[in-house]
């Protein structure tokens, strides 16, 4: 076994079992024989298609942040909430911890994620490493679990239903932009970006 070059090996992150890598074809999912965790999955998306998805996600993200999410009407009075309006409201109501959490998981981390994925893919299309490749890939690894836009969409739905008891509530375009964003995130979640470590040459562009 010591003759096998290390880059032909892969280790299951969940149980430390060592495997020889095999070439995956469309639709293949390699699973760990010991713990059943997914080792690697083949995804049919080309890097160009992924880049197009990231750009769409960015446009949706901007709109989800500019447009109001929900509007509430009572006796002719109307209030709209945007994401930042929500973050600021929590800060002013002395729930600063919540305000910071929301800003991080709903704005800053998704933003960092989209910008760095877009940047990395832009260069990966021609098999190159983008400037800043290593720090960005490491950052993506740590930011990964901390983006919560999809939870926010469900939260908005619950908030609408709760508020509807007392007020006229209108779902605004912002929430739809968020819903589309959520769909795009789901597509992205199935793509293991760590394959970029192998697919791009070591030398930075």
């Amino acid at each position: 076994m010591s003759t096998t070059p290390h880059d032909a090996l892969m280790i299951c992150e969940h149980c430390d079992t060592v495997y020889r890598r095999r070439v995956l074809t469309r639709g293949d999912v390699a699973k760990c024989a010991r713990c059943q965790a997914i080792l690697e999955r083949h995804h049919g998306l080309s890097r160009n298609a992924m880049l197009a998805l990231v750009l769409t996600a960015m446009i949706m993200f901007v709109q989800a942040n500019i447009w109001p999410i929900v509007t509430l009407g009572l006796n002719g009075q109307e209030n709209s909430a945007t994401l930042w309006g929500t973050i600021i409201a929590m800060w002013q109501q002395d729930a600063k911890v919540v305000s910071v959490l929301a800003a991080a998981t709903l704005f800053f981390f998704p933003l960092v994620k989209m910008i760095s994925i877009g940047w990395l893919l832009l260069f990966a299309r021609s098999g190159r490493r983008a400037p800043g490749f290593v720090p960005m890939m490491v950052t993506l690894h740590y930011v990964g679990p901390w983006t919560m836009s999809e939870v926010f969409v469900l939260g908005a739905l619950v908030a609408i239903v709760k508020a509807r008891v007392y007020f006229d509530v209108i779902a605004e375009p912002g929430i739809y932009a968020y819903a589309v964003l959520t769909l795009l995130i789901t597509v992205f979640a199935s793509v293991d970006l760590r394959s970029l470590w192998e697919l791009t040459s070591e030398k930075p562009a």
Binding site: S2, H6, I11, E13, N75, M90, W197
Partner: protein, 217 residues
């Protein structure tokens, strides 16, 4: 020789950030054998290499216990105050679920109940069980325990649901003259519970499930 060799059997180590496989500097047969306190870094991404996440048991226990201590006030204290001309109402997580149920959205009530109550409880139970059984090195139900860990990792962050609901309602109703929604301290404790349980499950090393006594046979 096992049919499924583990990294330590082959003298290799996997980077937990970029997954590169390299020869294990902590292995005794390695030419520049690294000592106990030494730091070895991944040749590809520069992250520190560990055979197992550092101090996984003590850190994970500490975070889990801290999370549980936050979870008690999160449930007992109200998370939101709704006030209108004729009444003031303080909602806890549970009363919010009941309200949704009685106001005609039982399906959403079930979702909120799952995210706010079932998921955190499941995390405490599963992580506690994993920590105890792995520390004992038992080989009981290993594939099932591995699966439970991945489930907890996957669904954990959905508990943030109620925190976002309170935030949105606060922002919406705030400027209304006739009524008011305010966040109350319970929501802060709940947000902290979610963050701490997420950290607790991240610091637990699932490879410990498989380590047990027979590892070095």
């Amino acid at each position: 020789m096992s049919a499924l060799p583990r990294a330590s059997d082959l003298g290799v180590i996997g980077c937990h950030v970029c997954r590169l496989v390299s020869s294990d500097p902590f292995d005794h047969d390695h030419p520049d054998h690294a000592g106990h306190g030494d730091v070895a870094t991944c040749p590809r991404c520069g992250s520190a290499l560990h055979r197992r996440k550092a101090a996984s048991y003590s850190r994970s226990w500490a975070l889990l216990i801290a999370a549980f201590m936050m979870y008690i006030p999160a449930n007992l204290m109200p998370i939101m105050r709704t006030a209108s001309l004729n009444d003031i109402d303080d909602n806890t997580i549970l009363s919010g679920v009941v309200e949704l149920w009685t106001k005609g959205s039982p399906d959403l009530a079930v979702i909120v109940f799952t995210a706010s109550i079932v998921v955190p409880m499941l995390k405490f139970l599963v992580l506690g069980t994993l920590l105890i059984t792995s520390q004992r090195g038992t080989d009981w139900a290993r594939p099932q325990r591995a699966k439970l860990y991945r489930l907890v990792e996957l669904i954990g962050y959905w508990s943030m649901l109620d925190v976002f609901v309170v935030s949105l309602l606060t922002a919406l109703v705030r400027f209304n003259v006739l009524s008011l929604v305010e966040p109350l301290p319970g929501v802060i404790f709940f947000g902290l519970t979610v963050v701490l349980t997420m950290f607790a499950s991240m610091t637990f090393d699932p490879r410990l499930i498989w380590d047990g006594r027979e590892t070095h046979e």
